[in-house]
């Protein structure tokens, strides 16, 4: 246990370098290289960060689900630390997706907010996983915290598709950029989008690893404190 933080730091350095490089390339492509979209103009550049953040938010919450199931099955607190780390980073990316969505909607749709299914589902996601983080902070004891938050992590994720379809039947106006079977997007824009999504995914992995290391360190600290109280 004592060696974990140093080991994590060592392994993070390679990922850190790759992430910074990828983000620099993505920034160059998004802000300089890619042409403006014809009708939306410069605003269209928000799209590359918006999609990248939204995709990583879903990935993060899927990791929470997997780690929650794994925790209930194996009862290894490392899975719980992963669920906690991924939920924190997921809420961060959800916030970015919501903020960029709002800034994009204003000039393009002429409103700050629309009740479009994907945007609304993202808002519900934000509330679900903020609830998850509040739950974690309200449960004493690492074993019980792991158990209860794993149960909620599973319920929340199972709920998301039902939320999505119920909001979709309720109303829809989101642009279908990637319709099934065809890609209606210029090659430069597609490349920029893929690089941006890739860079954000690396950033997710890096932040998740750092949050995971923090969770493990806190866990080690709690144990040391407990041992001091006993001894």
């Amino acid at each position: 246990m004592r060696g974990v933080p140093e080991r994590m730091r060592g392994r993070s350095e390679g990922l850190y370098a790759v992430t910074v490089a990828a983000l620099a390339v993505a920034l160059y492509l998004v802000l300089v290289w890619v042409p403006n979209e014809r009708t939306m103009g410069v605003v269209s550049r928000i799209f590359y960060f918006h999609v990248a953040a939204a995709w990583n938010a879903f990935l993060a919450f899927f990791v929470v689900l997997v780690a929650s199931v794994a925790y209930l099955w194996r009862r290894d607190l490392a899975w719980d630390a992963l669920a906690s780390a991924s939920a924190e980073v997921g809420v961060l990316f959800t916030s970015i997706a919501l903020a960029t969505g709002v800034f994009w909607a204003r000039p393009v749709w002429n409103v700050w907010w629309t009740w479009d299914p994907r945007l609304t589902t993202t808002l519900v996601l934000w509330f679900l996983y903020v609830g998850y983080l509040v739950l974690r902070s309200a449960v004493p004891g690492e074993e019980r915290r792991g158990r209860l938050s794993a149960v909620f992590g599973i319920v929340a994720f199972v709920d998301v598709p039902i939320v999505f379809f119920s909001i979709r039947w309720w109303r829809t106006i989101h642009p279908q950029v990637l319709a099934p079977g065809e890609i209606r997007i210029a090659p430069e824009m597609l490349l920029t989008l893929l690089v941006s999504v890739g860079a954000f995914t690396l950033l997710y992995a890096l932040l998740c690893r750092l949050a995971y290391a923090v969770a493990r360190t806190q866990w080690a600290l709690e144990r040391l404190k407990a041992r001091l109280r006993v001894g």
Partner: protein
């Protein structure tokens, strides 16, 4: 003793505790009626527009009253460490869940039985069309809400400040019920043909099945001590 007799034993225990203390159902009912009263000041019932907000008022009131009742029911188990008693009893966790679910469903249903006619009368709504349509939608919506609410109430009863935590966890999870039940109720009250509300009835049915199945897998992890 099989699944149903043990489930009914838990249900009977909750009903008897309620008959003795008269704590949950009475308080919840008064709360629901007060909420209806407050809403009738917020949306003037004499104005024609009030009928358009009626389905929303109905379900928001059911949601809040139901949440109070379910939170109370689990906090009672927590208070005297009755969870340990439930664990020591021959009932399996799934049977404890089923018994608590049925008790919560009965309490919430009883509140609706009084509250909905009062609401319709106060807002001078015409008797809803579609025969058993409104009771069916009420039942489907309430089953789904109470199914997931019972699970999440047991979860937050194990956390600090559980009564504060429950709404934070339950309301976002229950959004499909909020959408489906309100849309179906609106269509029924407008006298729309069944084709218009069957989609929402189907959504509620799917939600009910999922939220009744999940606790069968997950409830036992909440009772572990």
């Amino acid at each position: 003793m099989n699944f149903w007799s043990r489930t009914c034993a838990i249900l009977w225990k909750d009903l008897r505790a309620e008959l003795r203390s008269r704590e949950t159902a009475g308080t919840t009912l008064v709360f629901a009626l007060l909420a209806v009263l407050t809403f009738s000041f917020a949306f003037d019932p004499a104005a024609g527009t009030a009928r358009q907000v009626l389905p929303g008022v109905l379900w928001v009131t059911v949601f809040f009253a139901g949440m109070l009742g379910m939170g109370r029911s689990m906090a009672n188990e927590r208070a005297a460490d009755a969870f340990s008693g439930l664990l020591a009893s021959p009932a399996e966790p799934e049977e404890v869940y089923a018994g608590k679910f049925l008790a919560n469903l009965l309490f919430t249903g009883a509140v609706e039985l009084v509250e909905v006619p009062v609401l319709l009368a106060l807002f001078r709504a015409p008797a809803p069309a579609g025969g058993m349509g409104l009771p069916a939608v009420l039942a489907l919506g309430t089953i789904g809400y109470v199914a997931v609410g019972t699970l999440l109430a047991a979860l937050s009863a194990n956390a600090r400040a559980g009564e504060l935590l429950l709404p934070l966890l339950l309301l976002p999870v229950a959004i499909p019920v909020a959408i489906g039940a309100v849309e179906a109720t609106s269509a029924l009250m407008a006298g729309a043909p069944p084709a218009e509300w069957m989609l929402w009835v189907r959504l509620l049915a799917v939600y009910d099945v999922v939220m009744l199945a999940l606790p069968q897998l997950l409830f036992r992890y909440l009772l572990e001590g």
